[in-house]
Amino acid sequence: MKFTEEHEWLRVEDDGVVVGITAHAAEQLGDVVFLELPEVGDTVSKDDEICVIESVKAASDILSPLDGEIVEVNDMLTEEPGKVNDDPMGDAWFFKIKPDDASQMDDYMDEAVYNKFIG
């Protein structure tokens, strides 16, 4: 699993990279009450704002960590945004992206480095 400075996690699967937000991010956001996900088939570029996540406190954007195509989104989350607080690293994944260039993954941190990053 890889981690971005924007507190996203990336997990490589056979048909794409699954992306969610870290437990640390979910805790900082507080109770999540609204989520807007990209659409399957969207072509996105790295750092595009592709999701909106709102907690009881504020709205934040989620940036695409990679160039590629959105191949799956977790529709359950738009119905039950609170799942992001319950299981951010598991069931509450956001979307799956098919990367144009898998080497972009190399820019990101491994778990040990991320844990140091959030100190």
Binding site: G30, D31, V33, F34, V52, E54, V56, K57, A59, T78
Partner: protein, 365 residues
């Protein structure tokens, strides 16, 4: 503000309870505790929550005609406010805008006024300059604690039996664990409850005693904001300010009949005119139909796509279970049931004008 934020007498308790401390109006205050804003909000509606509101300005007024004098600055009927009663009011300016909102209590031998934390530096000189023959003293040695929710009577009554017999907007001096406290049955959540002014050296001990009650949990500024929003209560700086008149702000109910007729307060010309003819815009409840919260600044459009106003307070209402908002719209679009659109991140989201509050107020009348 570059000054180091100030700490209330309950600072150490907040930290011990895991409060996430933020700078609010120059004070280090808990925005939430480990339970989280949603949990604290629901706990307040279902049982009881304790809030530290010691950052607010507490002022003692003494003189022969304090009520009459206050009427020169406020459009409320304070001259006839009975001893032992509290009343919501506001200072108006010459243009009919609202300088601050406040709670005024007639304590018999003196008057007790609570003003917003951020505006104490405006309000106190304003009173000193304008209230003839009134001695004005800001008190810094008392904490202010709010206990709110359906169990508040049990939580406070366990330590202060006299509190049980009070009704909404009553105020008394009462003994709590040997400390002389001012206990007022009012609040800012839409629930029954109390605000209690406590000598600072006893505040932590008394707060701990309230929290020892199984129904009482601490709540922070986050829950305080979502509770007051669901209850349709204005936040100074968001929903009301120097430019908004009380009529625009749908606060006409807070101007008693005699004052509406007689005037004699700053901005009376505009305010009386708006009472008889109506104002061009009005503060209303706005219920988004979807799930996206509409926050402060979001544009409101009528069904034809014209701008009719803006959101002044908005967020997620944990008790409502969805987004809730308040904002100003043109009076001709302010009728409950009117369909409007909210422009959130460039997209029009459907919403409806609704009657405030979003939740039933549960005051003990």
């Amino acid at each position: 503000m570059t000054d180091t934020p100030k700490r209330t007498p309950l600072y150490d308790l907040h930290v011990e309870l895991g409060g996430k401390m933020v700078d609010f109006a120059g004070w280090e205050m808990p925005v939430q505790y480990p339970m989280g804003i949603m949990g604290e909000h629901k706990h307040c509606r279902e049982k009881a929550a304790l809030f530290d509101v010691s950052h607010m300005g507490q002022v003692i007024l003494k003189g022969d005609d304090v009520g009459t004098q206050l009427e020169t600055l406020c459009p409320q009927a304070f001259a006839t406010l009975k001893e032992g009663k509290a009343r919501y009011g506001f200072f108006t300016n010459d243009a009919g805008g609202i300088m601050d909102d406040l709670i005024v209590s007639n304590a018999g031998s003196y008057w007790f006024v609570v003003v917003n934390a951020a505006l104490r530096h405006q309000d106190i000189p304003h009173m000193q300059a304008n209230l003839a023959g009134v001695d004005i003293t800001e008190i810094f040695d008392r904490a202010l604690i709010a206990v709110q929710g359906p169990s508040a009577e049990d939580v406070v009554g366990a330590l202060c039996p006299a509190a049980r017999d009070m009704t909404f907007m009553e105020t008394i001096m009462a003994d709590i664990m040997g400390a002389t406290c001012r206990v007022s049955r009012l609040g800012y959540t839409g629930e029954d409850g109390y605000e209690i002014s406590i000598p600072e050296d006893r505040a932590e001990e008394i707060a701990r005693a309230f929290l020892a009650h199984e129904d009482c949990e601490p709540a922070g500024l986050g829950a305080r904001d979502s509770l007051r929003l669901e209850a349709g209560l204005c936040l100074y700086g968001n929903d009301i300010d120097q430019t908004t008149s009380p009529i625009e702000a749908s606060l006409t109910w807070a101007i008693q009949k005699r004052r509406r007729e007689e005037g004699g307060f700053p901005g009376a010309a505009r305010i009386q005119k708006e009472i008889s003819e109506g104002a061009a815009k009005k503060l209303v409840g706005i219920k988004p139909e979807g799930r996206a919260p509409a926050r402060q600044g979001v544009e409101v459009q009528c069904a034809n796509g014209h701008t009719i106003g803006a959101i002044t307070s908005g967020g997620f209402g944990p008790t409502v279970g969805g987004p809730v908002a308040m904002g100003y719209v043109s009076t001709n679009h302010a009728t409950p049931g009117e369909k409007v659109n909210l422009i959130i991140r460039g997209k029009a989201q459907p919403a409806e004008i609704v009657t405030l509050p979003f939740v039933q107020q549960n005051y003990k009348r």
